[in-house]
Symmetry: C2
Subunit: 424 residues, 2 copies
């Protein structure tokens, strides 16, 4: 059993370094090629939705009314609006249902604010001298990439166990009108796995902020539970309405990790004012979304209960994979005292914090031993983790044996990077 590295004598640590280095050398010799980077569902998960492929034929099209094959329906078919309204906890009038990518819906909504401004704002964000977003970190690299691409300054905010550190958020937002937005993954946050507490949601809704400040509420894992009694998540739009800031909340969801990652349906929920604003721009960009695919989802699930039942089958597939990650950590790393692993009750990721200054080296060592990890820093704005500490692990795509093998390599790499550092 490994002991705490900090508590070891220099001699003990030197011996441990030799031992772990040999272990790492042994892994290198195996010629592994494993990948723990991708938050992608595995084939067995995708198979759960194969019924989607053929559940809409000519009869279903005819029964649906309107003609889902033809142009039109900019905000989605009524049945899909109803389904996503339930999914996101809003009224159908507060929803627009789009194409296959919530990333596109988020990106495009920010571009519209950039070019045209938002309701209640004072013009295009892009005309301001400075535009800042708050980025609870570690967070999601594709969110940060949108900001980076547009030249939006990002300010990292620490994540606590119940959400972003709100004292910090409130202080920043209330004192700087150039802060126009904030990214949030409120449930099973990517990658920390935490779910925002009611208090955090209320503080986000109530805090003083610029009139055109918007919270980009990416509820990507709204129904992606690994337990039977998930922690409730307070509805941000409701809270913002109660707080008198109804325009603050822009909420996003999709079936990308419910049905098919690349061929699901994405939606946005917000106040009617915000939805009308989005549609006024969307109507220039498109005649309407793929309504046939929306109908497929409506037929396949029926209602929110159908989605929830479906997600239990996902959980059955991926729960053992999450267990393999936790188990390996407990057996191989916990006692060293130099790393902590998140304990997600849902979502797609683990967050692994190593000894400060060793994350990049850990990724390098793992790569040498044939295990691909998300680049260190990716979970921070501009790819810069100031502590060089955080790693994101994605266990859904590889199979069970691959995860176990990859975790052996990862634990060894964490230990080796740490021991090198401590010997340094």
């Amino acid at each position: 059993m490994t002991d705490s590295y900090q508590a070891m004598s220099s001699a003990e640590r030197a011996a441990e370094l030799d031992r772990i280095r040999a272990e790492h050398e042994r892994f290198r010799s195996l010629g592994l090629a494993l990948d723990m980077t991708r938050g992608k569902p595995c084939p067995a998960q995708l198979d759960l939705s194969n019924g989607l492929l053929t559940c809409v034929g000519p009869d279903e099209v005819a029964a649906a009314g309107g003609d889902v094959r033809n142009y039109g329906g900019l905000d989605g078919i009524p049945d899909a609006k109803k389904l996503f309204a339930d999914f996101l906890g809003v009224q159908p009038e507060e929803v627009m249902v789009g194409g296959n990518s919530s990333q596109t819906v988020m990106h495009d909504s920010i571009l519209r604010a950039w070019l045209f401004g938002v309701p209640g704002g004072d013009g295009p964000w892009g005309r301001s001298e400075r535009v800042r977003f708050l980025c609870p970190s570690p967070g999601y690299d594709r969110h940060f990439a949108i900001c980076e691409h547009l030249g939006i300054e990002m300010t990292a905010v620490a994540m606590d166990g119940d959400g972003p550190r709100m004292d910090e958020v409130e202080s920043l937002v209330s004192s700087d009108a150039s802060i126009k937005g904030m990214w949030c993954v409120p449930r099973y946050s990517n990658p920390t796995g935490i779910t925002y507490s009611d208090e955090v949601v209320d503080r986000l809704a109530n805090m003083a902020a610029a009139a055109d400040f918007r919270i980009y509420w990416d509820n990507a894992y709204a129904v992606h539970h690994l337990t039977d009694n998930p922690q409730p998540l307070k509805n941000l739009l409701d809270a913002c309405k109660t707080a008198g800031n109804p325009e603050r909340a822009l909420m996003f969801g999709s079936t990308s990790k419910v049905t098919f990652a690349g061929a699901g349906v994405a939606a946005m929920a917000a106040s009617r004012v915000n939805i009308a604003d989005q549609l006024s721009h969307l109507g220039i960009q498109s005649i309407g979304p793929d309504k046939v695919n929306q109908l497929r989802h409506v037929r396949f699930f029926g209602d929110l209960a159908g989605i929830e039942a479906h997600m239990k089958r996902h959980a059955e597939i991926i729960r053992p994979k999450f267990g393999a990650v936790s188990g390996a950590f407990e057996r191989q790393l916990a006692a060293t005292g130099v790393a902590t692993l998140s304990q997600p009750n849902g979502g797609y990721f683990f967050s692994l914090d190593c000894l400060d200054g060793t994350a990049a080296r850990t990724v390098e060592l793992a790569a040498e031993a044939g295990v691909k990890l998300t680049p260190a820093g990716a979970t921070y704005p501009n790819g810069d983790d100031p502590n060089d500490r955080n790693l994101r692990l994605a266990p859904t795509l590889p199979d069970q044996a691959e995860i176990e093998q990859a975790m052996d390599v990862i634990c060894t790499s964490v230990k080796l990077a740490c021991l090198e550092k401590l010997a340094g």
Copy 2:
């Protein structure tokens, strides 16, 4: 038989006005509700592609390789790239295949130029004091709407029988570097129905222009022939390469009016440099398109010959509808000498030129008699037809009897507006 209105005496015209007014009054009393505005396929056309709904099940997914259900494949699946390369007459490396809307692909490509510039340009168009697009007119209102939305100035250019009036185009483009773009519907142009001659294509490719000048080549009706021996269209990208301006051509196509208007597949073709530039931005906006729907199209058609055979079945359905429009015009309007009708050999529209100053009144009179027409001016930039002359007729969606009834109303409305005008 009606005679030429211009040749009539005042008394004859007064009598004709009384007669036509009574005819119009009779139509008003019928309580019609017909719509000739929408360039939408009719249900029988959509039915041709019902096989698309179920042609991809789990077996086809498995056979396709990769996993079309999962994330990735930003530029489309290889088989779809091949199909659209043939469709647009380019190499697969010169194609990106996207989602359901070519309008979105065009819109987004202009937004990227606006925000980030284009290869070989000197920065974002949006930072220039002035950005102009040439708009061959009459043209497509949704093209013009994109420009209007962004604040791009539009300059109408006259359309001749073989394309835009090139003397005018060359003179404008060569003398003003603020002209960054030009809209073209090169085959069965919306709404005039003309196809660009080889000479026009060559002149577009060769003319002197700003380095970041781009031609938005919306080949929306690439395969939408009504005759068996369609006029060939020279490939713009080839011509631009030959002319040493390979970056000038951005070509767009889709299956919106081939399979399902709302659930087809859209693609862009351009030089590799331009495609790489597009993908560098698209990767921020999306993880990838709906590849399952791309696979459906690949399976449904097989190859370009499959698309061409399919389009012959479309032609069989809509040819009589086009004939009904032409026939009514010949019987009721041609002899008056106050209106001319286009003679499209493909596409989705007729262009009807009335006596100057009577188009808006014609739309009003038709509406009073229960026939909805596209607003006068819609075919010109900013909705402003300087001659108040042009009307667009869309005959695909209504059924045969409706078209015939609508054309009776339209011909009467054209005549009435004209006679009112001549009566002063």
